[in-house]
Every structure is written in structure tokens, then in C-alpha cells.
Subunit: 316 residues, 3 copies
Amino acid sequence: MKLSEICGRLSVEYTGDEIEISGLNALSDADKSEVSFLEKPKYASQLSGTRAAAVFITQEMASKLPESTIALIVEEPYITLAKASAFFAPKRLENSGDAPSIGEASVVEPGAYIAAGAQIGQGCHIMPGVFIGNNVRVGDNTVLYPNVTIYRDCEIGNDCIIHAGTVIGSDGFGFATTKTGEHVKIYQNGNVVIEDDVEIGANTTIDRAVFSSTVIKKGARIDNLVQIGHNCVIGEYSVLVSQVGLAGSSRLGRNVVMGGQSATAGHLEIAPFTTIAARGGVTKSVKAPGLYGGFPLMEHKRWLKLQGLLSRLLKK
Amino acid sequence: MKLSEICGRLSVEYTGDEIEISGLNALSDADKSEVSFLEKPKYASQLSGTRAAAVFITQEMASKLPESTIALIVEEPYITLAKASAFFAPKRLENSGDAPSIGEASVVEPGAYIAAGAQIGQGCHIMPGVFIGNNVRVGDNTVLYPNVTIYRDCEIGNDCIIHAGTVIGSDGFGFATTKTGEHVKIYQNGNVVIEDDVEIGANTTIDRAVFSSTVIKKGARIDNLVQIGHNCVIGEYSVLVSQVGLAGSSRLGRNVVMGGQSATAGHLEIAPFTTIAARGGVTKSVKAPGLYGGFPLMEHKRWLKLQGLLSRLLKK
Amino acid sequence: MKLSEICGRLSVEYTGDEIEISGLNALSDADKSEVSFLEKPKYASQLSGTRAAAVFITQEMASKLPESTIALIVEEPYITLAKASAFFAPKRLENSGDAPSIGEASVVEPGAYIAAGAQIGQGCHIMPGVFIGNNVRVGDNTVLYPNVTIYRDCEIGNDCIIHAGTVIGSDGFGFATTKTGEHVKIYQNGNVVIEDDVEIGANTTIDRAVFSSTVIKKGARIDNLVQIGHNCVIGEYSVLVSQVGLAGSSRLGRNVVMGGQSATAGHLEIAPFTTIAARGGVTKSVKAPGLYGGFPLMEHKRWLKLQGLLSRLLKK
């Protein structure tokens, strides 16, 4: 889509060259065919390094952009981005396009739906009621139990098992809120990538990224009713016990274990080989591996000490 | 159904006039074609104002009913109500009746099931594996992702998006328990009403009301794996983050934000523009807008102060 | 499968008699046609009483086995068991075998899938999108709402109601972890048994047992989005409110009530007629009935006292 068309539809002033724009992206990830935005001053340091073609930005901040990036002056950059995201949303389901390809010895049971452009590897088992969207890629020897939904453009590796009712690639919880309290949807144009040898329980939900990918790395084990927000990255062989909730952009190293009902706030990292006890609430990044628990999070031995202290106080 | 028939099937004595009864309802909401009940003395003050045709009630309380309301004397009013609720339960799925109507430019994908009497507006997209029950009404430009289930008699507005696996209108968690500890189902004969421009995530559950409606108002945003109990009312533009749990009859004002894994006890109100932090447990009504957290709930700054206090105590 | 074949495929030394092995089981439950394992020294006391045909065990522990039980010496018994579990996993879905039998006056709606060998009683209602696996048995007058999934070999009683999207019999969260942190799946070859008059809400998950059965006893009431781990036993008329999470091998007595978002650690018991308040975290067995809450769990009145104490400390 031409930048002039984007700006025209948003009533944003732009009189420069005709540039073809492929999509939207974060400031730090955008390439020269993409448009980005800056809303919060605390991210202003990212402006000088961006390679974005253009950025929705307020008048005050615009001077900090590199010369190679076009400033698109708006009053509310995040709201403008939200509106622009709709222009790049692919169709939910296209019936045209290549027939899906199904590998040798793969079985697709009756009542499964596989959309145009999907590619299923060899030796897979797709059970009744499964939905596989456009252009989804599934590796070899992967099993999808009944009523699993895989949204378009997601990728599933080899030797994966996904249990019944699980949803992969639903929209992340993204919206911009106007001054009067209304919400404008930010279309989630990224996807989910699940690597090889991952097992996922029943009725779990893994949201697609707003840009780029939510990633579940090789060998991870995810239990039932787990929520994984958009743009999370789950490290190799990590273990997420039932009812864990990971807010958007949580990044877990390899072999992280999260106990039942534990959770993270968003935009943080957990060091490899860290264990979060059941119910632990991770409020900021965990930099040293170890055993943590409580809410707000603390070393687990400190949490035990706290319980002992409270117990003694009650006896007084 | 005639009142005499209801009483006959329940072995409740009744020798008065033949009255046609349309259903059951709460004391304060029942009209003169409905039957209600009183179990707990604390609700006795509602007796004098009721317009119910008849009320299941104990001998002791019966004298407090207005003259226009018939006292149906029973030992266990709640158990009797539970048994009566079965008489008014509609059929789960009727194949007879009007063929569903599908508006112009709406697409119903293969493998979706739309029951008799359902009405789908214009420009909707109903994806594979969706179930839409009898008499459901869906507005215009609404999207139902794969494997969504909408139980009978529910209403969905215009411009809504409901993600995969979500269940709207399942039975509320209602039963009366006998003295010997057995449970008698209270049929949930209400519905769910979702207004315009509401987006709901994946594998969320919204229960139908026991009487009248569970209501999700205009512009609300609901994330994945959220539980909304029967008879809740969610205000305009409210935001419920993943794994929130709202017990029955929670009433949220407009622009209430509930953080991840936060929850409410039932039968309470939250003031408009209130924010409940992640994990907050709302144990009674919140009357002043603000930021709250913790369990039991407190002002969030108080919760932070408490964490500081505990931290200092541990250092001693 | 012959024991010699099992050992051959696992590269475990075995030169004894040809014995036919029917499956794997826990030390205390295995019969003389089954193989078991011992990994943790704390369970060594179970060795002397086992009736297992053979046990995967380390050299050090082997001498404690009774003479009638064959010691299969391995370095990592749990990993070996995990590998062996794959040999006994039945096919996910078999199209051969007896056509399913459907009782009189039962209705199977279009879009439901019932696998070979399944037996549905009389007066049942199987709604669209339901999946019923091989050899599942469903009693009389049971209702399965849309998009419910029942995995193979599970049993559902009479007069049950299972709401939309619920998954019964998905694999328990079982795996053995190697020294280098990789996970080997333990195939879950047990099932789920649901007795009569049980109602289960929407999008709940109940995992099948690794060996034997996960059991939901007569008259239990289970709400939406509840997680029940493998090998749990839920007592008669117990009540599990929404978002409860029960870790594997939790055993609840009759009429146990678990409030919303409460949870258990695994391998523990809760006495009959116990109530766990909302959010309570059951960290060890509850032996005396009563009202408990908090995390770690305590008597609820103690929890209230603790909140009062903290409140007073904050005022100082």
C-alpha cells in the first residue's frame, strides 16, 4: 500500500515521495518498507536508531527522527497506528488460493477443516473439528486433537501434540484507548511459531503477535488452560503448569518452570533454568536462576521465611 | 403453565384460582405472571414490594406477603424453586421452527451449525465449527471464529468479534443443596446479551442468567480464558484481562479495568473508571473509583505500603 | 507384549522367562501382568509389597524387591518407564471395530463424531461438534453440549450434563526429564470415569490417568474453566467453583467445596465436608473438616485474623 494512500485514509498530512509500505512494526524492528510509531516519551531513545520508512509521531518528538525516516505528524500516534493496523489485516479466511497440501501418511479425519494454502507434513493426524487456517504450516508427525483451532499464517513444527480445544494464533489483546475511553482495535498481523517436539494441553490459548511472532521453542511442555499473550517467547524445554498466565512480551529462557497459576506481568525476561513456584507472580525480570515464589515475586526461601514470620506474629 | 399444574407436580398445596404462569423470577423483578421464592430471612424486606403472582415461602414468612401475592407454603423454598425451574427449561435444540435467516453478504463457512429461529445480520462471518442455538440473534458485521458456541436465545450486537472456542450462554452454576448434601439443578432460563463493538478472546466463558440476562455492554474488551458468571453486568468499554473470574451478579460500571487473574466475589458493584490490579480479589463493592489491588482488596498504594512493611519486618 | 520384547526395545538386559505384559502401573497397584518402576528412594518401602511382574530399578535398590518380582536394572528408571509407556499407548483413533451403538431415543446432532466401539445409552443428546472417542461409554439421559471432546476409553454415567468446549480425557501432564533437561513423554494410558448425575461447566479440562482412572464421583458439580489433573478423585456431591486447579492425584472426599480460583498441590487428600475459600491454596492434606483459606492454607478464621493483624500494623 502506498504511504500516500495510508495517510489519505487517516487524514494525515503527507506530500512526499510515493513509497510502497509492506506493514507496521515496532520502532526497533521496522525496516525501510515499514511504518512505526512513538507514543511514550520513554521510548524516544529508540528514534535515532530506527530504520522505519515513516513514523507516526507528535510534533514535539519529530525532530529526533533520523533524516532517512519520514515524520508523520499526528496528535495521537498510538490511536493512529491502531487505525492503520486495519489496512494491513489479511482476510480471516480465503477460499481462493492453492488447495492445502497434505503429506504422505497424514490422516485428516472427517469434520476437520483445512484452509487454502495450508501445508501439512507427513505422518500427521488431524482429528475431527480441527480448524487450520490459510497458509498454516504443520511439520511431520504432529497430532492435533479434536476441536483445536489454528489461526492463519501460524507455524507448527515436527512431533508436536496439541490437545483438544486449544487455540493457537487468536488475536493478542491489543487496542488503543481514546481520551473519551473508547477502544480502537490494533489488528494483530503477526503469527505464532511453535518449534519441534512441543506438547500443549487442552483449552490453552496462545495469541498471535501484533508484529512478528509469538514463539514456543523446541521441547516446551505446556499444560491445560494456560494463557500466553502476544509476542511472548518461551524457551527450549520450558514447562508451564496448568492455569499459568503470561502477559504480552514475556520472554522465558530455556528450562524455565512455571508452577500452577503462576503469572507474569508483561515486557520482562526470566533467566534460563529459573523455577517459579505455584502462584508466583513475576512482576519484574528475573536475572539470576533460582527458585522464586510469592506475589510480588521474591526468592522462595524468603517467601517461606515470611510465612514463618507471619505465623509468629499471629501467636503474639 | 397453570399454577395448579406447577403445584401438583411439586406436591405443593394450592386450591386457588387458575392462573397462567410464564416463568420464575427474583422477588424484586417478578411480574404478575411469574412465581418467585424466599429462602433467606435477610431478603424478607423484599416481600412487601413484590409483584409476583405467587411465592414459594415458609409458613413463618408467609404473612409478610402483600395480599395480591399467593403464598405457596413449603418447607424448603429454594429446593422447591429448583425443582420448578425444570418445568420452564426450553428444549436444548429444536429442529422445528423457522429456518435461520442469514443477512446479505454474511458468510457461513462449512461445518458451522445454525439452529432454527436464529437470525444473523448482514456482513457477518461465521467460521467452521461454530454452533448458534435456537433464536440467537446476531447483529451486522460480527465475526465468530471457529468452534465458538452460542447457546439458544442469546443476543450478540453489531461489529463484535468472538475468538475461537469461546462459549456464550452456558448454564450458570446454580443449584440448591438438600439437607443431606445432594444438589438439585436450577435451570438457567435467562440469556446473555452482548451489545455492539465488543471483542471477546479465546476459550472464554460467559454464563447465561438464571432469570433475565447476563449483559456485556457496548465496547467492552474481554481477553482469553475469562469467566463471567450468571447475571453479571459488564459496563461500557470495560476491560477484562486474561483469566479474570467474575462471580455471579457482579456489576461493573463503565471503563472498569480488571487486571490478569483478578476476581470478584458475587453480588457486588464496582464503580465506573475503577482499576483492579492483576490478582486483585474484590470482596465487597467498590464505591469510589481508583486503583485497587490485593486480596482482600485495598487501595493499591496501601497494598504497596504493606509489601514495604513486610519487607522491613523480614530484615529485622 | 512379551517382557523380552519390551527389554529389547529399551536395550535393558533381560534373560529370564517369556512373560506376557499387559501394561505399566504404580508399584502399589501393579498386578502380576504389569511392569512398574522405582525412582525415588522415599518410595522404597513399597517394594516389598509389590505384586508387579517386573520393576525398572537401579542396581542399589534391586535387592529390596520380593523374589517373585523381576528386577530390570537401569540407570534412570523413570526415563525408562517413560520410554516404555509409548509401547502401550493405544491408537488415538481407530476406524475399524464395532460401529458405535446409540440407545433408544438418543439424538446425535449433525456434525458430532462418534468413534468405533463407543456405546451411548438411551435418551442422550449429543450436540454438534462433539467428539466421542473409541470405546467411550455414556450412560442414559446424558447431555453433551457443542464442541465437547471425550477422549477414547472414558466413561460417563447417567443423567450427566457436560457444557460446551469441555475436554474429558486429555493426556495428564506427565514426562520424565533427562539430565540434560529434555522431556520424555509418559503416555497416559488410563482414563476418566465420571459417575451419575454430574454436571460440568464450559471449557473445563479433566485429564486422563497415567494408569487406572481419574474419577469424578456421583453428584459432583464442576464449574467453568476448572482444571483437574491426572489421577484425581473428586468425592460425591463435591463442588468446584470456576477456575479451580487441582494438581495430579488430589483426592477430595464427599461434599468438599472449593471456592473460585482455589487450588491444590498434588498427591494430597481433603477430608469430606471441607470448604476451601476462594483463592485458597491447599499445600498439604486437610484431615479435619472445616473452613480453610489463604496460601499457604490455614483455618479461615486464622486468615481473617491475619488480615486484621496486617491492617493494624499498617496503621502504626
